[in-house]
């Protein structure tokens, strides 16, 4: 496995929406590298013929009936919001791709 670089850590932080400090970037670059080298051992026995397991129990086809149920009280929901206006959640401006 290739070692993880500081630039990769910075990219990961962007993907994960973490505004890491320079110190953290250094710190995590070093720590993640150590951890990854340790956990990467899994590939030693994970051969192509072994199926992957995503769920610990073999459950299938779990559904609910299409019935509408009561909703939460809006006042209670909005009371927990950092900001709200006009019965909606207020969020900072979005820098989007639209021009």
């Amino acid at each position: 496995m290739t070692a993880i670089t500081r630039a990769e850590v910075a990219h990961l932080a962007t993907l994960a929406r973490l505004d890491l400090t320079e110190t953290e970037l250094d710190h995590y670059a070093q720590q993640l590298d150590v951890i990854l080298q340790s956990v990467a051992r899994v590939s030693e026995i994970a051969t192509a013929d072994i199926p992957a397991t995503s769920h610990p129990l073999p459950l299938e086809n779990v559904f609910r009936d299409d019935i509408a149920r009561p909703c939460l009280d809006r006042a209670e929901v909005l009371a927990a919001a950092p900001a709200h206006e006009d019965d909606r959640f207020r969020v900072p401006r979005i820098l989007d791709e639209e021009v």
Partner: protein, 501 residues
């Protein structure tokens, strides 16, 4: 198995429930005694993040009222309980040990809380934990560590250290924990208490703030095997709000705990979890326990689970991957902390600033790790391989359970370590879970119960029992038999040796 003395806080849950049913003690008295105990010791133990004395007394009062009205009370009605702060409870702060949710009061009850309420159990408050259940010491709580009642300079385990410490400090006879890689069992081991991780899907996860969805499982914690069984039977069972919940009858764990019989059972020692890396006193008490079980009529054999040595690696890929996604929702938009919303920052920046400020070091570390393991180009090598290892571990368990009824190992490699000792060494911290992790990967049930103090440090040692999925009752058969034999040997429960504080 009564605990000596008349102090209400030193009784088992079963005894307290009986006293409340017969009117020997009122639920209010019982609750008040525990609230008083919390007042007198929790500044040192720091098991609780939140105590709602008023609400607790109110629910105790309603239990007393039901009794007065001639209603039949449930098996744990009126008994106080400490709830891990990772389960939602309507209107009550649910922080998950994180600044991110410092003032969040959920608008809904978790299924576990619903069931506790329905059983008339008195919820005292919310217990401390490693932030979002990431850790093995509660040192990663944003609100400061909990302390081990056996030695306040030591960790009470994690992530459910608060729940375990509350039991060991006699602040509550019952507690709820959650176990993703050992967070019920390892705290139980280092605090001399009992904890069970039920079969995955055995206890509903609805309202359990997810760390790693395919590994998380809530479970019962107490000071005796029977109390644990009584609580287990209340919180377990199918819930249509959890798609991963098992729609089948819950194994009769209470009957198993009462039976306490290992005669004719085959008990397998996992070779890979018995050898190097275990503290001498831990290994010694483990061996002694095996001798007791053999004496009680069980056959002890050794079985190999060769893939277990890869379990830690698989776990530290699967858990961070799922966690990185589960914790994405903490973005400061709908609830919880928001940082940097001063009009100059965009929503992307506010999300990043919020997450940077709201999450602690371990959470960020695992989010980064998981983000990496899932990212394109690395998925197959990391996440994909980990999922294959998971298959191999399940196969190891399956083949072991063809020849034995349960598997056993020490719960944790060491007794409680000093606060601060491993906090900056993630790999050393991760090793605490080496013996508990395989069970989570495979979805099995497992228990930790106390089997003595390590001679070298006088701290509790935990013994782990592992059963196949939906054979949770076997844990109680074996655990209760071992507990009973040790009780006979010592003349009391181990927990009674805990310092008075």
């Amino acid at each position: 198995m009564p605990i000596t003395g008349s102090d209400l806080t030193r009784q088992t849950a079963a005894v307290l429930a009986e006293a409340i049913r017969t009117g020997e003690a009122s639920a209010v008295e019982v609750t008040q005694a525990h609230l008083d105990r919390i007042s007198s010791v929790d500044d040192r133990v720091h098991a609780f993040l939140y105590v709602d004395a008023e609400a607790a007394i109110d629910s105790a009062r309603s239990v007393d009222a039901k009794r007065s009205a001639g209603e039949v009370l449930g098996p744990l009605a009126g008994v106080p309980l400490a709830l891990k702060d990772v389960l939602t409870m309507r209107g009550v702060p649910t922080t998950c040990g994180s600044r991110m949710l410092e003032n969040w009061r959920p608008p809904y009850d978790s299924s576990v809380v619903e069931r506790l309420r329905a059983a008339d159990i008195v919820i005292l408050g919310k217990t401390n934990m490693d932030e979002f259940a990431m850790g093995s010491s509660t040192e990663h709580s944003a609100y400061g560590p909990s302390h081990n009642p056996w030695d306040l300079d030591r960790i009470p385990g994690g992530s459910g250290g608060g729940s375990a410490a509350a039991l060991a400090a006699f602040e509550a006879p019952l507690a709820i924990g959650t176990d993703t890689g050992g967070s019920i069992r390892q705290p139980a081991a280092v605090t001399g208490t009992v904890g069970v991780k039920p079969t995955y899907g055995g206890v509903p996860r609805y309202g359990l703030v997810a760390l790693a969805s395919s590994l998380d499982q809530a479970g019962p914690c107490a000071r005796t095997v029977m109390d644990t069984a009584l609580l287990h039977s209340i919180i377990a069972g199918y819930d249509p709000r959890d798609s991963t919940s098992i729609n089948a009858p819950v194994p009769n764990v209470v009957a198993a705990a009462a039976k306490a019989d290992v005669r004719g059972m085959r008990i397998g020692i996992v070779a890979e979890l018995n050898g190097e890396g275990y503290q001498a006193g831990v290994a010694q008490r483990f061996r002694e326990s095996l001798a007791i079980l053999e004496h009680l009529g069980a056959e002890i054999v050794e079985v190999g689970c060769p893939s277990f040595e890869y379990a830690l690696g698989a776990y530290y890929l699967i858990l961070p991957s799922e966690a990185s996604s589960n914790l994405a929702r903490f973005d400061g938009m709908r609830y919880g902390l928001r940082v940097g919303d001063d009009g100059s920052h965009s929503v992307e920046q506010v999300m990043s600033l919020t997450r940077e400020a709201g999450f602690g070091a371990e959470v960020k570390r695992r989010i980064m790790l998981g983000t990496y393991a899932l990212s394109s180009g690395y998925y197959d090598a990391y996440y994909g391989s980990a999922q294959k290892v998971r298959t191999l571990i399940m196969r190891d368990f399956a083949s072991a359970f063809e020849s034995v009824d349960v598997l056993v190992s020490p719960t944790a490699p060491t007794t409680a370590f000093k606060i601060g000792e491993k906090v900056d060494d993630p790999l050393a911290m991760y090793l605490n879970d080496i013996a508990t992790i395989p069970v989570n990967l495979a979805g099995n049930a497992a228990m930790s119960l106390p089997v003595g103090l390590a001679p070298e440090d006088g701290l509790p040692v935990g013994f782990q029992i592992m059963a196949p999925p939906m054979a949770d009752d076997r844990l109680y058969l074996v655990g209760a038999a071992l507990e009973s034999a040790l009780y006979d040997q010592w003349g009391h429960l181990l927990i009674e040796e805990a310092p008075a504080l």
